[in-house]
């Protein structure tokens, strides 16, 4: 069996993997690493088993490397974990900003209501009432979000 057939097997494998990966610089990097790995593993196997069929050897190497689907999945998980840690910092910032903004709006609205001519409600009562409304709305929204996440998870299962 010619070297050309071996090269084709490696190329097909890497192409199959590329199709399952995002089109990014990181994918190119990973494919380059895997190509070097496959070639080195194949060379070592050939040296240790010079009598064995070359196609069988490259198939063993590719089997040791793993199914393209499996590698793509692992890559995805590694990337998701990175994104999650970045997301957490962003989420803390977003939540802080949201509470700050909501607080300012509540104070401004309470002040506006209390300063209307002939207003029967004072600033502190307006502040408490608005705060209760906002808290209730926020609880309801969180509950709805939790429900849709639960349904999504059940659908995935």
């Amino acid at each position: 069996m010619s070297d050309e057939a071996i090269q084709r097997k490696i190329k097909d494998y890497l192409e199959k993997l590329r199709r399952k990966m995002p089109d990014t610089f990181e994918t190119d990097d990973l494919l380059e690493d895997l190509e070097a790995h496959i070639k080195e593993a194949y060379q070592n196997k050939s040296l240790m088993n010079p009598e064995d069929d070359k196609i069988m050897l490259i198939e063993q190497v590719l089997d040791d490397v793993g199914e393209p689907e499996f590698i793509a999945e692992e890559f995805d998980k590694a990337t998701i974990s990175e994104d999650e840690s970045e997301d957490k910092i962003n989420q803390i910032f977003r939540t802080t900003m949201r509470y700050l903004f909501t607080g300012i709006i509540i104070i401004a609205a309470a002040w506006f209501v209390a300063s209307l001519p002939d207003s029967i409600i004072d600033f502190w009562t307006a502040l408490i009432v608005l705060f209760v409304f906002v808290a209730a709305e926020s609880l309801l929204r969180n509950w709805e979000r939790g429900e849709s996440k639960r349904i999504e998870t059940e659908i995935k299962k």
Partner: protein, 123 residues
């Protein structure tokens, strides 16, 4: 039939548990292997050493090491330099960064403590 179902469920539970625990341990194992090679080690070398030194305990498909190496590199725990390879394209040599060394030390303490506590639980 019920016994078969129970066996099936237990096996899949064990498999799932193994998958969950393996990913974290694999990151630690990779750091441990890279630490042993001050001048650097390439991906294929890591795969070989992992298999030989753990007797294949972690049942790693070699290709799955690269997403982990990529992650550790991105977290700045590993540094990379290239070296010419006899087999073809130049290959990447991985070395531990100062931060990688610190993290490896910290993880070793955490793991030691976990195993110690688990051992105490079993008694």
């Amino acid at each position: 039939m019920q016994g078969l179902n129970l066996l099936k469920r237990t096996t899949s539970f064990e498999e799932g548990w193994k998958v969950e625990i393996r990913r974290g341990l694999l990151q630690y194992a990779v750091l441990a292997i890279v630490k042993r090679h001050e001048t650097g080690i390439h991906g294929y070398g890591i795969a070989r050493e992992l298999d030989e030194r753990t007797d294949g305990l972690l049942e790693v498909k070699e290709g799955t090491l690269y997403p982990i190496l990529h992650r550790l590199k991105k977290e700045r725990l590993l540094n990379v330099h290239t070296e010419k390879s006899e087999a073809g394209p130049s290959r990447k040599m991985y070395v531990l960064t100062g931060e990688g060394d610190r993290v490896y030390g910290a993880l070793s303490i955490i793991l030691g403590s976990i195993f110690e506590k688990l051992e105490a639980l079993r008694k």
